[in-house]
Amino acid sequence: MSKSERPSQLFRNLNAKVASIPMILTAMVVFVGGTAWTVLYSFTNSKLLPRLNFVGLEQYYRLWATPRWLISIENLLIYGVISLVFSLVIGFLLAALLDQKIRFEDTFRTIFLYPFALSFIVTGLVWQWLLNPDFGVQGVVRSLGWTSFDFNPLYNSSIVIYGISIAALWQGTGLIMCLMLAGLRGIDEDIWKAARVDGIPMWKTYLFIIIPMMRPVFITTLVIIASGIVKVYDLVVAQTSGGPGIASEVPAKYVYDYMFFAQNLGQGFAASTMMLLSVMIVIVPWAYLEFGGRKRV
């Protein structure tokens, strides 16, 4: 610094640059490079090994003509809608209940959140056991005398995705509750006082004042839930392995199976590119609102 000669631009801050090499490599090689590579090879007919033999959009035509992929997409949509609606509603209601200055708040929060510490594999296996038709909930209710009781989601292909959603909600609502609770605690106490003075009933205060004020929290939560939905994989593998038949397949599993079992890399790349596309549809508008808006201010 005290030298009259300034070091060249490249070597300024050299230590910081050297220290950032892992970050730069990760960002450029893995994230940008890897993504570009996969998208590029999704236009080839790679089978066992990746080969640059371009076939245009053929992999995509084949993808959208494959029943298993269509079922995967349908499942993802159902699972996604259920996760979004129920985790937001349940998460918010639990947070609102915990926000009533209750006793044992920490105990309740610990109980609602602990499933989130467990892996999807553990979650899936526990719920596989609970929903076991012979020994689980159905078996127990039947043994109590109601012999026609029918609750067997994991072996019924038309409702199996709902069985998976039950496990997912058990695992994930605690997180949403925590985020919502943080949002509720961020609301100025005076708002509540003002509403109470005006005699507005509590549910109306929540619905028309508090929830609109929590818009940023809801958007953040929405992005978190949405990006989790697309990634759903382990839970299905553990709970049903995609069965019965292919009734509970999801896109992430389709990608994995085509890449590592079916040795049809091109299909796997095309499917993963579709997953990327669906995430971008959610992320880009959000990123635009979040970062684009900040620049304008």
């Binding site: 910081a16 892992p22 960002a27 993504t35 200055k101 127990v140 943080a182 992005v223 990634k231 382990d234």
Partner: protein
């Protein structure tokens, strides 16, 4: 986004800790309280039910499971399923139990946690205090990259690891965990270091400390809480990982989650539900212990880590 959630969480924790506040307490058995606590207790029981069923199932013998009800407590407590799950359960031809997966997971988690946190904390420090031209661009790419589905990047990483001869090894998996832990951890550390007083950094510069000197002697000792949050986040995240484990390791180096899934979902042999449940608890035990010990720090970690989705 996450700094908002993080600060909101920490401020609510503080608010919760302060003394009595709010309106005068009402009568304990008012209709409102009965409804409130009634609902909470019912929901809490629902959340605890799977854990309870896991534990009681793992303590029963198979005959009792076949005859009884999954919700009833064990008539005769046996720890045999636990022993069997730990040391005899079979995956394919190997019958040495989950202990192998456990030690694999330990050998994956420990270096991954250390490496990912070391890299990310230095990154965050460089981004907060030594910003160079283009640094923010890389950072934004890193954060956006956190939202890319892993499936998109799995195969290119297979190729990279194969080229450097680490495909299938634990080292390879450690690198993968460090890569995918980087976005969220870098964000976490960057935000933390940015919030530290600038004067501290300037004073150290004036005293002649360099990049590493300031990091090791000033930043590191002053940011222990955020390191604890990062450790909690990474230990649970890496222990619970399944996808990377199944893609980047071989059967003899499978982490615990992968081995557990193979044990429980194997099609051969008679299903031993008690052993399966004992194995499931064993796999969930490490993150559960971390969770119950860390308490509020875990909440801080997930508020930050939630970005990862």
């Amino acid at each position: 986004m996450s700094d908002h959630a993080l600060s909101a969480t920490s401020s609510n924790l503080r608010a919760g800790a302060s003394g009595p506040s709010g309106p005068k307490p009402r009568h304990m058995f008012s209709r409102r309280n009965i409804f409130l606590y009634g609902t909470l207790v019912v929901v809490a029981l629902y959340y605890l039910l799977p854990l309870y069923v896991m534990v009681v199932t793992s303590l029963k013998g198979m005959p009792e499971i076949r005859l009884g009800n999954i919700f009833s407590p064990p008539l005769e407590i046996t720890f045999e399923p636990w022993v069997k799950a730990w040391s005899q359960a079979c995956t394919g031809l190997n019958c040495d139990g989950l202990s192998r997966g456990f030690w694999n997971s330990v050998r994956i988690t420990v270096p991954s946690v250390i490496l990912s946190i070391a890299i990310a904390s230095v990154n965050g420090y460089a981004l907060a205090n030594w910003r160079f031209k283009g640094a923010d661009t890389f950072f934004i790419i890193l954060i956006v990259g956190a939202f890319i589905p892993y499936q998109v990047m799995i195969y290119p990483i297979v190729i990279i690891l194969r080229e450097i001869g680490l495909y299938g090894s634990l080292t390879g998996l450690v690198i993968v965990h460090s890569i995918f832990g980087m976005p969220i951890l870098t964000l976490l550390f960057r935000n933390y270091f940015t919030s530290m007083p600038e004067e501290l950094f300037r004073a150290a510069r004036v005293d002649g400390a360099g990049f590493w000197g300031i990091y090791l002697r000033i930043m590191l000792p002053m940011s222990l809480p955020i390191f604890v949050v990062a450790i909690i986040l990474q230990v649970t995240g890496i222990w619970n990982d399944f996808l990377f484990g199944v893609v980047y390791t071989r059967p003899d180096t499978y982490p615990m989650t992968v081995q557990l899934n193979n044990i429980v979902n194997s099609v051969q042999g008679v299903k031993e539900y008690n052993v399966n449940m004992a194995a499931t608890i064993l796999t969930g035990l490490v993150p559960l212990i971390v969770y119950f010990i860390s308490g509020k720090l875990f909440v801080r970690g997930i508020a930050a880590g939630a970005v990862k989705g």
